[in-house]
């Protein structure tokens, strides 16, 4: 019987994995459970391990209760804005970076190498460290409080271009030669060959970029002052206020519900499109 000593190590492996899973999942589960409790209860004892009776009320408030002067902001509106930011960012990034990468890889022109470096340099400097001038420029262009101003400045980085460049370079050279023999022009080649070949990659990049865009925090906080444009992650900032100002009992229940709501769409997408997502993440960095 060789199974016995073996079993101990397997049990150990499972124990480690289960502990790891608890470490990762447990906190979020507690927040979800806590969203079913009364504010005062939470204010007194913190996160809850059971199931309270305020679930419907808290979630209803989180989604439907309007606040602010204009009365236009509620959970649904923030959800919509987060989707616009996530999808707009992902699509914009994919379109412009595919175009740029296509130009760099498939065209012979003297500017190709400098163009690549001009684009690539943008990997150097995260938005956070050039935040003030970026804000000022966006404001000068009159883009504050617009979806354009929310999305476009975030697109100004090379991650997507770099990735598509790597991918295009792995496409066999024979294809482009065959296309040229067939008399296909660059546009036809792009649409008929490159786009279909890149489908999985596009999907993978879309997921990663959607999550990235959805999770943006500092930029939306600065650039949106109209309540109707707030995103969910920016809404978290509002929640944190109630911790600081000490004027009112924080609406803890609603805060928990909003926190869950803010993580739900990206988490679901990552879970359901796991294989694409993992492939995109791992391949894009090679």
């Amino acid at each position: 019987m060789t199974r016995k000593p073996f079993k101990w190590s397997v049990a150990m492996d499972h124990t480690i994995l289960i502990l790891g899973a608890i470490f990762m999942v447990g906190p979020v589960l507690l927040v979800f459970l806590t969203s079913s409790y009364d504010d005062i209860e939470i204010a007194k004892t913190g996160l809850q391990f059971g199931w309270g009776d305020k679930f419907v009320q808290n979630w209803n408030n989180a989604l439907n209760e309007t606040s602010g002067f204009t009365g236009t902001i509620n959970g649904w509106v923030m959800l919509k804005n987060s989707f616009i930011l996530g999808i707009g960012f992902a699509l914009g990034k994919i379109v412009i970076s595919m175009m740029a990468a296509y130009a760099i890889v498939y065209f012979r022109f003297r500017f190709a190498v400098p163009a690549f470096w001009v684009i690539f340099t943008t990997l150097l400097l995260p938005l956070e460290v050039r935040i003030l001038p970026s804000y000022e420029i966006t404001q000068q262009m009159g883009l504050v409080n617009t979806y354009t101003g929310l999305i476009i400045p975030l697109i100004a980085s090379a991650t997507g271009t770099f990735f598509f460049r790597q991918f295009f370079r792995s496409i066999p050279e024979e294809l482009v030669e065959a296309a040229r023999i067939d008399g296909a022009g660059p546009v036809k080649f792009f649409i008929d060959i490159i786009v279909p070949l890149s489908r999985t990659m596009i999907a993978a990049i879309f997921i990663i970029m959607f999550v990235y865009g959805w999770n943006q925090y500092l930029w939306p906080t600065l650039i949106t002052t109209e309540e109707g444009l707030f995103t969910l992650v920016r809404g978290i900032k509002q929640i944190m206020f109630s911790f600081t100002d000490g004027n009112t009992i924080p609406e803890f229940g609603v805060a928990m519900a909003l926190a869950i709501l803010a993580m739900l769409p990206p988490v679901l997408i990552v879970i359901f499109f796991q294989s694409w997502f993992v492939k995109g993440l791992v391949d894009s960095d090679k």
């Binding site: 002067f69 009159g142 504050v144 002052t225 109209e226 100002d245 004027n247 009112t248 009992i249």
Partner: protein
């Protein structure tokens, strides 16, 4: 924008049967939660009170974020008509002459009477220039006062302390024996520093506390305040006081929960406390050190003021003036005072509150005004220092290190003095 205003006007004219061209102005503020709702209410009331102008309040985040957003907007020519600026940011906005229209000029140019003596004593000059001209309209004005849990004092058989000596020898030990943490405070730079200087009538900075010019030097490294922090640190170490970090709420919550017997907070906290606590509470004046002065003076206001940004059309400025006039009217001030606990800024509103019996019902609501109306001294009008947000950050950091024992009181104050003076010198250079 014009299209919307037009559509709105068209809709209104359809309803009301007359054509109005409303002038719309914006107001950026930092009032969240309940305060934000009150702000919205005031704006809505103003819009309903007349049909020439309409105001749109926008919540912009913390005080610091509101100021910075306003600055960036100003540089891009997209500033709001009215911007709320907090006490520590006042120097930045007032130093930038040309960024704002002094409220005093704005009101008198638009035909409203302005007399600075209509305002209660403690709020008159904090947001004024060196000549005493009011630049910013005091809005949410508060001053630090001592709240106490009546049950706790009764259990310990003491009354609220008038002086820190009394606190140290009588009140605190009795409260400790009764099972309470005697004291906490929520904002050391504001309560234990700026207002400490004012309460004891001590000079806080050269150049007339900074009012006479940006090249001022802070005078924080003084024996009186060092002794105060040595004492406070001692109280915390011996259980006569609690320190819960830099966060406002972290220090207020133990009082609200009944663990801490007395709390130094803002007179503007009154409205929130009424809703939150379930024990009888009241408030009294900020204690002082008898060893430092036997004639304690008034404190000055904290909170924030409203500034009218420059570069706006005459109609919009008229709208802003109309709003300020509405805001300072007795009824609005009284309503604001009642629902938030911030002090009314005019004597007339104060009188209205008194006549209405507000202070008979809530004696604690009057403490802030009483303190602001105490005898004035040479150094009680306020202070004006640039980059003061960072100077407060330095104070908070060093005070935090005192409390955890990472540094000594002497080193901490020497550090604050050096770093604050470096910041002041840098700020002076930005003004060239």
């Amino acid at each position: 924008m014009t299209a919307r205003t037009f559509a709105l006007g068209a809709a209104l004219s359809f309803v009301a049967g007359a054509a109005f061209a409303e002038t719309e102005i914006t107001w950026w503020h930092a009032m969240s939660g309940q305060l934000g709702e009150t702000v919205n209410q005031i704006a809505a009331d103003f819009n309903a009170s007349q049909d020439e102008y309409s105001i749109v309040p926008v919540f912009k985040g913390t005080y610091e974020e509101t100021l910075t957003a306003g600055i960036a907007a100003f540089r891009a020519g997209e500033q709001p008509n009215i911007m709320q600026v907090f006490d520590a940011g006042a120097a930045t906005v007032i130093a930038a002459q040309g960024a704002t229209v002094p409220v005093q000029d704005l009101l008198s140019d638009n035909g409203y009477d302005f007399d600075i003596n209509d305002y209660i004593a403690g709020v008159r000059y904090f947001y004024a220039d060196a000549d005493g001209k009011m630049i910013g309209m005091p809005f949410n004005s508060s001053t630090p006062i001592l709240y106490y849990n009546q049950d706790a004092l009764d259990a310990a058989g003491v009354t609220a302390p008038v002086t820190w000596e009394e606190f140290q020898t009588v009140t605190a030990p009795a409260l400790k024996d009764a099972g309470y943490t005697p004291l906490s405070q929520s904002h050391m730079p504001w309560i234990f520093t700026e207002n400490f200087f004012s309460r004891h009538n001590l000079q806080f900075a050269t150049n007339n506390n900074g009012y006479d010019g940006a090249d001022a030097q802070i005078l924080i490294n003084q024996p009186e305040i060092r002794d105060h922090f040595t004492a406070f640190k001692g109280w915390v170490d011996t259980g006569l006081a609690g320190y819960y970090g830099t966060g406002w709420g972290d220090n207020a919550t133990p009082f609200e929960n009944g663990e801490v017997a007395m709390w130094l907070g803002s007179s503007g906290s009154f409205g929130g406390l009424v809703q939150k606590v379930d024990f009888p509470f009241s408030a009294t004046l900020l204690p002082y050190w008898e060893g430092v002065t036997t004639q304690p003076t008034q404190t000055f206001i904290g909170g924030a003021a409203l500034f009218a940004m420059s570069g706006k059309s005459a109609e919009e400025n008229a709208a802003t003036a109309a709003f300020f006039s509405f805001l300072t009217s007795e009824d609005v001030q009284y309503q604001w005072h009642q629902s938030t606990g911030y002090v009314p800024i005019t004597n007339a509103a104060y009188d209205t509150a008194k006549a209405d019996g507000h202070y008979d019902r809530f004696p604690a609501a009057e403490v802030g005004i009483q303190q602001l109306s105490l005898e004035a001294g040479e150094w009680t009008r306020g202070y004006r220092m640039g980059f003061y947000v960072q100077i407060r950050d330095v104070m908070n950091r060093e005070y935090g290190r005192i409390m955890t024992g990472e540094t000594s009181v002497e080193d901490a104050f020497a550090n604050i003095e050096t770093e604050a003076n470096a910041l002041l010198a840098r700020f002076a250079q930005t003004q060239n």
